[in-house]
């Protein structure tokens, strides 16, 4: 027996040491397998090509990921293609994990990519950490950016103290996607537009009454959905009360009637059985579950979500749904009591940034510019299902004719943005915990107490206020 074991160990060690020798090439060859090295001619050893590494988040769609096709198309048509090799290093992780991984990467020149996708809400914290390159001088050499083709308000989100740190590529708004048939059954003819939280609750009650087998509404409510819970759910409610996360002096409000109202609304939705089962919503796959199993099959009536949700239903989307234009509707989120301005939306977005520790900044910027050029970007933004950051694209027929886009884009005018402040990203994690606590049965008062102490720890007692 012992001999056999020893032989087994010996043989496996030998095999492994062989693999280990091959392990050096693991680095370069495997990248091309997993990341999809899209360089056309790797064996061209005559001249040294420079390499730029690009990091973005992917959901496990691999080569179907909109970012992948966008980058690949850009590379194929790039005039520097012969001198530069692309190394794609997507991070396959949940949203929260993506930010942690990126923050780890950015610390060292060895691991930092040359180009990365950056969520606008992380920007301040990353800039303060010194992770991102100030590209103010680079953009001088980017005519489209200078000539007012980008929305100024959006560029603003990526500018800190007058310095530009990223080129925005997507914007978004949020609202209520609904199933026309189910609403109709509940007595609401198309188009449905609630004017207060009460209107929503009434509709939910009616849906529950008329279609007992469906979940009347679905919204992110867990820690696992990260910023999606903060922004699509909590802030969409909170900002509708007229209060914001911070007061006019930039102090975080940690206790107020508005917060209580918001949490009570969530509590009502989940205790009255309007929301989905907790095990369906409190995990990172909830969007996929919602759109593949419930919404598209008429088993959920309303989804409070971003404008991009509709992108899934296209022919080449993740959950193709032929004829969806006539089956669903999009309503703006009303304020709490219908008070001014009547409807609200939060808006965020993503941009391309160059890490401070990048080794190939000039080339990276050239590629970034190319990515944002008219035709490539038009295709890119349409497959992503987001709202364009370029005015000229907004008027392009291909973009503008997408179902529901004009409505979603029109909400941008009155949109609220998240605090542009380095601690926001942390505060957001405290919000997620608070929301998850409430929907799983913690009293709103207790959840607020925990939230308060979390926020104090993060931003300091002097930067909070109770109302």
């Amino acid at each position: 027996m012992f001999r056999r074991i020893m032989r087994f160990i010996l043989v496996s060690t030998m095999i492994l040491s062989l693999t280990a020798c091959g392990g050096n090439s693991l680095d370069s060859s495997s990248k091309s397998e997993s990341g999809g090295d899209v360089s056309s001619d790797k064996n061209d050893g005559s001249k040294e090509k420079s390499v730029i590494t690009i990091t973005y988040r992917e959901d496990g769609q691999g080569e179907k990921a909109p970012n992948y096709t966008w980058i690949k198309n850009a590379y194929e048509t790039w005039d520097m293609k012969d001198q530069v090799e692309l190394d794609l290093a997507p991070i396959s992780a949940s949203e929260g994990d993506y930010f942690a991984k990126v923050a780890l990467q950015l610390q060292s020149p060895k691991t930092a990519p040359d180009l990365l996708t950056e969520d606008s809400f992380q920007l301040s914290a990353d800039v303060e950490a010194g992770y991102l390159t100030d590209i103010s001088d680079y953009v001088k050499d980017f005519p489209d950016f200078q000539d007012g083709k980008f929305y100024e308000k959006i560029i603003d989100g990526y500018t800190i103290d007058g310095r530009v740190y990223a080129i925005p590529y997507s914007a978004d708004t949020r609202g209520l996607w609904y199933n026309r048939e189910l609403l109709d059954k509940a007595g609401y003819s198309y188009p449905w537009q609630p004017n207060s939280w009460n209107d929503i609750l009434e509709a939910l009650a009616a849906i529950k009454e008329t279609s007992p087998d469906v979940f009347p509404i679905w919204m992110n409510a867990g820690v696992a959905t990260g910023e999606g819970t903060t922004m699509q759910t909590y802030e969409m409610l909170l900002y509708g009360t007229g209060e914001k996360l911070q007061d006019e002096d930039g102090k975080y409000i940690i206790e107020s009637q508005a917060i209580l109202d918001t949490l009570n609304m969530l509590k009502t939705i989940f205790t009255e059985g309007y929301g989905p089962d907790l095990s369906l919503v409190l995990n990172g796959q909830t969007s996929n579950t919602l759109y593949s199993e419930y919404f598209t099959k008429g088993k959920t009536a309303i989804s409070l979500d971003g404008n991009w949700a509709v992108g899934r239903f296209n022919e080449d989307g993740m959950n193709p749904w032929p004829g969806y234009e006539d089956k669903i509707g999009f309503a703006a989120m009303p304020t709490q009591k219908g008070q001014e301005p009547g409807f609200i939306t939060m808006s965020g977005g993503w941009g391309w940034a160059i890490p401070e520790n990048a080794d190939n900044k000039d080339v990276a910027f050239q590629f970034m510019k190319h990515l944002m050029s008219y035709d490539l970007y038009l295709n890119g933004i349409c497959t992503k299902g987001n709202i364009t950051v370029r005015k000229d694209i907004a008027e392009d027929e291909k973009y503008a004719n997408q179902p529901f886009y004009s409505k979603a884009s029109s909400l941008l005018d009155g949109a609220y943005f998240r605090p542009k402040e380095a601690k926001y990203a942390q505060v957001s994690t405290a919000i997620q915990t608070m929301v998850e606590s409430v929907v799983t049965g913690t009293s709103p008062e207790d959840a607020i107490a925990t939230y308060g102490s979390d926020v104090i720890r993060m931003v300091g007692e002097e930067n909070v206020v109770r109302k």
Partner: protein, 274 residues
């Protein structure tokens, strides 16, 4: 009741029920792995298939992850046994002034939760250029497995009578030779236990590689499974279950192989005796 116990019937019944209860959590993973339409829900498959296994095994990235996982765990296990074995010798055979102190420190180290030191380890690895390196993961896992391994090895070695070694010394063997020829064969059960513990701990660890590695293609199978399970993306439950079964297999095989030595090892280890 007393008679029942004495007859020994009741224990058989209770044990059988307990065993069934312990098997329950396994049912889903086994059924789902053979189910064409597996979901999160528990059900007995109507369409059986081995397609889930084939799909998982055919995926190049999965194969690579298995390779990396084996590489990390096997090298780590070998390193742990070698280093701990060497260290155990002086601790077991010589009178050393610092020995007590040393053993205490080792004991304290065994109790440290690894999660607690991940932040500094990560910073340290960045500065040592070991971040995102498979070798770095191996060496850190080796370090974290060492205290317990040294402790076990010393106890095992204590139980090998020194007289046998003396004979070897008379024949002119040096320390290394006598370790190799006399001690190692005699404490083989112990060596196997240490090796198995080291291998399975490394094989099961997902946090260390998840934090210390960055390139997706360097992820071992544990991290892959964690991502499969704990993250976004469409979950194909049948494949997830099949993946889990395949992933658990090396640990099970290793256990079966070493089972003969296990109880012996446990008795020797002193963990059992105190």
């Amino acid at each position: 009741m007393r008679k029942f116990i004495k007859d020994g019937k009741l224990p058989y019944i209770i044990l059988s029920i307990m065993a069934l209860l312990f098997a329950l959590p396994l049912l889903w993973v086994i059924f789902a792995s053979f189910d064409v339409n597996a979901t999160q829900a528990f059900k007995i498959p109507t369409d059986w298939t081995i397609g889930n296994y084939i799909n998982v095994l055919q995926d190049k990235l999965n194969q690579q992850a298995f390779g990396v996982g084996l590489l990390i765990s096997a090298i780590e296990a070998v390193l742990v046994v070698l280093i701990a074995g060497l260290a155990a010798y002086p601790l077991s055979r010589y009178e050393l002034r610092y020995k007590k102190m040393f053993m205490y420190t080792i004991l304290l180290m065994t109790s440290l939760p690894i999660t607690a030191v991940m932040v500094p380890v990560y910073k340290l690895f960045l500065s040592m250029n070991l971040y995102d390196s498979i070798f770095g993961v191996i060496i850190f896992m080796t370090a974290s497995a060492l205290p317990f391994a040294i402790w076990l090895m010393k106890n095992f070695m204590d139980s090998v009578p020194i007289e046998l070694e003396e004979a070897a010394w008379v024949d002119g063997a040096n320390v290394l030779t006598s370790i190799r020829l006399v001690i190692a064969p005699l404490m083989l059960p112990g060596v196997l236990v240490v090796m198995m513990v080291a291998f399975t701990t490394a094989w099961g660890n997902f946090l260390v590689p998840y934090i210390l590695l960055n390139t997706v293609s360097k992820y071992p199978v544990s991290v892959k499974l964690y991502q499969f399970f704990g993250q976004n993306g469409l979950v194909v439950y049948g494949e997830l279950a099949a993946y889990s079964v395949i992933y658990a297999t090396p640990a099970v095989i290793l256990y079966i192989l070493s089972q003969k030595y296990m109880s012996q090892g446990f008795i020797m280890s002193g963990a059992a005796k105190g």
